[in-house]
Symmetry: C2
Subunit: 730 residues, 2 copies
Amino acid sequence: MTKKIFTFYMMLVLLGSYAQETIIGFTSTNAKAQQNLEKTYESLLNSNNLDSWMQRLSAEPHWVGTEFGRKNAEWIQKQFQSWGYDAKIETYDILFPYPKLRLLELTEPSTYTAKLTAVAVEGDEFTAQGDALLPSYNAFSTDGDVEAELVFVNYGVPRDYEELEKLGIDVKGKIVIAKYYGSWRGIKPKLAAEKGAIGCIIYSDPQDDGYVRGDVYPKGAFKNKTGVQRGSVMDMPTYPGDVLTPGYGATKNAKRLKREEAPTITKIPVLPISYEDAQPLLAALDGAMAPNSWRGGLPISYHIGPGPAKVHLKLEFDWKLTPAYNVIATMKGSEFPDQWVMRGNHHDAWVHGANDPISGMVALMEEARAVGELAKKGNKPKRTLVYCAWDAEEPGLIGSTEWVEDHKKELQEKVVAYINTDGNGRGFFRAGGSHSLQAMVSEVAGSVIDPQRGVSVKERRIAADLVNGGNENFELYALGSGSDYTPFIQHAGIASLNLGYGGENAGGEYHTIYDTYPHYIRFKDPGFAYGVALANTAGRITLRLANADVLPLEFQQWHNTVSGYANEIMTSCETMRSEVEKHNKMVDMNVYELASDPTKPFVKPKKKNAIPYLDFSPIQNALGSLKTTIETLSKLDISRLSNEKRKSLNQRLLKAENVLTSEEGLPRRSWYKHQIYAPGFYTGYGVKTLPGVREAVEEKNWKEAQEQIEKLAGTLKNFNKHLQEMVGLL
Amino acid sequence: MTKKIFTFYMMLVLLGSYAQETIIGFTSTNAKAQQNLEKTYESLLNSNNLDSWMQRLSAEPHWVGTEFGRKNAEWIQKQFQSWGYDAKIETYDILFPYPKLRLLELTEPSTYTAKLTAVAVEGDEFTAQGDALLPSYNAFSTDGDVEAELVFVNYGVPRDYEELEKLGIDVKGKIVIAKYYGSWRGIKPKLAAEKGAIGCIIYSDPQDDGYVRGDVYPKGAFKNKTGVQRGSVMDMPTYPGDVLTPGYGATKNAKRLKREEAPTITKIPVLPISYEDAQPLLAALDGAMAPNSWRGGLPISYHIGPGPAKVHLKLEFDWKLTPAYNVIATMKGSEFPDQWVMRGNHHDAWVHGANDPISGMVALMEEARAVGELAKKGNKPKRTLVYCAWDAEEPGLIGSTEWVEDHKKELQEKVVAYINTDGNGRGFFRAGGSHSLQAMVSEVAGSVIDPQRGVSVKERRIAADLVNGGNENFELYALGSGSDYTPFIQHAGIASLNLGYGGENAGGEYHTIYDTYPHYIRFKDPGFAYGVALANTAGRITLRLANADVLPLEFQQWHNTVSGYANEIMTSCETMRSEVEKHNKMVDMNVYELASDPTKPFVKPKKKNAIPYLDFSPIQNALGSLKTTIETLSKLDISRLSNEKRKSLNQRLLKAENVLTSEEGLPRRSWYKHQIYAPGFYTGYGVKTLPGVREAVEEKNWKEAQEQIEKLAGTLKNFNKHLQEMVGLL
């Protein structure tokens, strides 16, 4: 136990109790009771349940709108009910495109028609379900029929287009082919369209999740030559959820945009393919060799083109309104029924989804079952628990987003925190989320034993960090996007966590027909030991949040983290400045041209605008004031708080995260309200912290950067005021 | 012109002359004459000669001992004679193994017999010469007949075996398969044998010089699936040259070791193969996946083994004494006939060798021809020029080594400097060598115009350095081994240079049947512009050394460089110390085990011995004294030196490099005398500077490291004394 946590909440601990028995947010007596409760809870967890439920839930493909998906939702609802929950299904009618026509062919200089079909493999009957398997496609690609020369654009991210510019290669009027990975997939067609391309193909290079990584399925876990990653390409960094109902629930009678107006459908057609289908296309390219770092694992020389390869891409979708079934299971709190601790995991999958999402879903279910058992034995949670099984996560976090939008006001009043899980597997504990929860999560991670190594999952995670050059601190990563926490934290400003195990569960099955039960039990989490570990970890966190005397938020670690983000941005400005100076000097000296090979494409680089000095002092001063407030808060003796004051304190703690949002949201994407965390506009899932400022700096929009500095400083000042109110209470 | 070179030699320049007309080592008047001479020299160079000579010399395979090789030597001799040189052929009888039997087969779990034959390609008649092509093999592999399980060892260098140790994989009694590159090839069987392997296969992975790098021959320059790199695996870091006559010339009646005693023949059989032949072998391996960085460009999952792949390797060689023909062409100096400036390039090749070595050979010949023309017009060199065309370089620098060993005493008395060239191509000027010559080479590089970009080759080279993150200084790289400069600098202690152009001439033809004239003129140096640039550069350097009033050696840059090497070693000790401390702490914390995947091979790392503090002060003090002497030397006014004193000064300058050697040589390899530069014992070609100290530190042999510090300090003190004698003269 470090000195840092002998503060604020530790004051709740009565004299005479042992340090190791303290838990953030609990009085000494209640800490003991809570620890006993958690031990009992852990003892109730049974891996056999996870196993049999996975077999049940992943028996057939169950994307949103399928009969099997509906059955799954109803079955999950019944399970919750049997465990003592008040469980209902809330339905939204969302736009979901199913592919009617998919055609991709090489038309010049030779011909090849893409197979677009993954093969069934021996030992895995699920892969042989034929027409029941969802055809491989990218949801929310627009319809299209285009033919043009092909250009290889590596991962199709901004720095790849910078490289193409250096080589004098333009994708205007072309069809691009990009590798999966390097960014969230939706960035690839978004950026390609911005650059003038008229079509986009995405393929899985064997270097990223095929034979280069390991033996392919069925011998090993990685992608065989026919596997195709499905996935949404909706412009989620603008807003996730139903494309026709931005910012409000897609209820039956909601007003809807026309499809043609929906800004988050791609501008150009996009199709994912296997590396078997990609190889003839890539091999038919000529022109400049791709830069070294672009070259993948296919046995070919990777050229960029454009051409002589020419391809024809034709796509049509059915664009139907489809019901999405969210299962919402509630167990009313015994003391604070209007304070909710929420848990969620989606239930829809692209195909069978044994790993994604069922491995997380069954851990959540086992957690809910055990919590139900505790309740039956008289240990009802003090706060209300809400367990959610979301539908339509895969096409764009749609089930959760519509539900959050629909219930936003109530949630902002009541929800203490939202704890998300998704696919899970063998390996190391990784947690992301609101940094006010970091100290509590760290404490819980210290009390969960790793099933393989017998030390705490915190200790094992830190060991891995140290071996990989990291430090000895347990840290939450910052949340970008990629799962159902997004509407909670980014849009509603509710403190959130995303929990999971992994790192020893690598494979190439993601969003393919190979994400099946046989694959899962061989390569992902044999025996479901880490499924149980996840239920154990998430359940303890849920129970602590549910039963804490004072909500277990801690702001010193929060402050360190946010100060670190601010420093990163300031440092990046300095780095950019010296890089621009060096670049301009080298342009003046003409060294780029002199160093280039005259037989290869080369575009003489231009001088760049000097990087101005921004005034970061508003943020620095706001963080300075916050530091003082947080120090004061941490030293206050709150052990003798009246119930009334504790209630007021908890009310303010519950709303603290929301104070970090701004109603007007981020520039050009007002759906994103949080001022500390957002998915990057050009990364998609990858987080940008202090996003208003950081993205303006990265885009070299200096006017906006200064405005966003002021805005962020304002948010931080409000936060300071909010915390000062807590000080005033005590 | 920087301030640095306004010293010592600059004092030779008469007042009133312009700075830009000064040349290191020349009086003002003579500088002008020399510059005019060099301009005339440059105007005589004709690319057509290089072209037609390459066609002549690379028309047939001509490894040592071939009829065509002998004819080439005789033809080269005649050319020199026709240009006014006294040219003779000096012959040595060397042991050279030709393959009688080569068999490699996969025997388990399936069978495959390696083809061991590269295919003829369209558009290149030379590749269709069938039986006339030398079979692919590694010269100085021992005979052998072994069968064992296969283990993939990446590049087969020391750090790869460290990695295998971490994985608990032993190569004892196995046959290893290693990729080419990562070290000089001879290190691979040497290290494999030290680790207990009984056979070694080396293959060219397409990632290193095949399709991953670019289109393969004949479409592009890179290695097609059948190409095999030949090459020597003699233990050259112990001694190069004839394996039976270490340290003395392999003359007709020389005493010879028995073959069984020759320490530089490999201990285990070794065979190079193509990636077509390697793929079935590698694909048949199982066991642990190779670490990420080991994986190559073949479309397979790279496993390490051992087994289940089992291979049978059988090799027999003829082990005959073979005549090696060195062509030695002399043009007597008009003023200082007993001071020799030497130039050399080898003429033997593995197959046709259009690039290696003929591209360098024809540049040397054109240089010699133009110098001959100058002489005929009355501009005879003041010092004697010796142009050499070495035989038997490919099997182990044999021709040059035997000649240097045979004439060592005379050479140490007479040779001012040896200037080496070898394969050459389009791109950037790169020069390695004795750092006392750096200032002079830099000056010459500033006067040669790059054929593509119209700036000096120095400016272009610095541009490339800057773009690649380097600095603005022109620097010589330090010489390790890999061409015929080795006996001169490493063994005889003669100041040496190695010159060439490249970087825009990449390909996979090295030591294959594809290193032909058609390949060369398409991919290496179309129009021979860089062949002429090399003749221009090397010729100017040769002529400056030949005609200088005072030999153009400069010691301030030398001192900076050598001090830099010493600092590197001291820093590396500090780095090792903190790494060992960190490692031991992590072992104590057991983080390696906690971070490891229990389902994968893992050997718990042991604590390492703490790194002791060495006493570097003897080197530091010696370098300190040298700094003072060199500063004094650089400030002395030598413009009014008598001829007698100038002669004495030149005599001492001529011998300066030799003072940097020690007769007893390096530990365990006394052939290597130089104390500043040596090829690494475990890198082969790659240089180790201050090798006695550096290698002892790298091997953590602290006792020897301290001894070598004292020894190096003694060498530096001797050098200081030698330079002080020059000061005394002036």
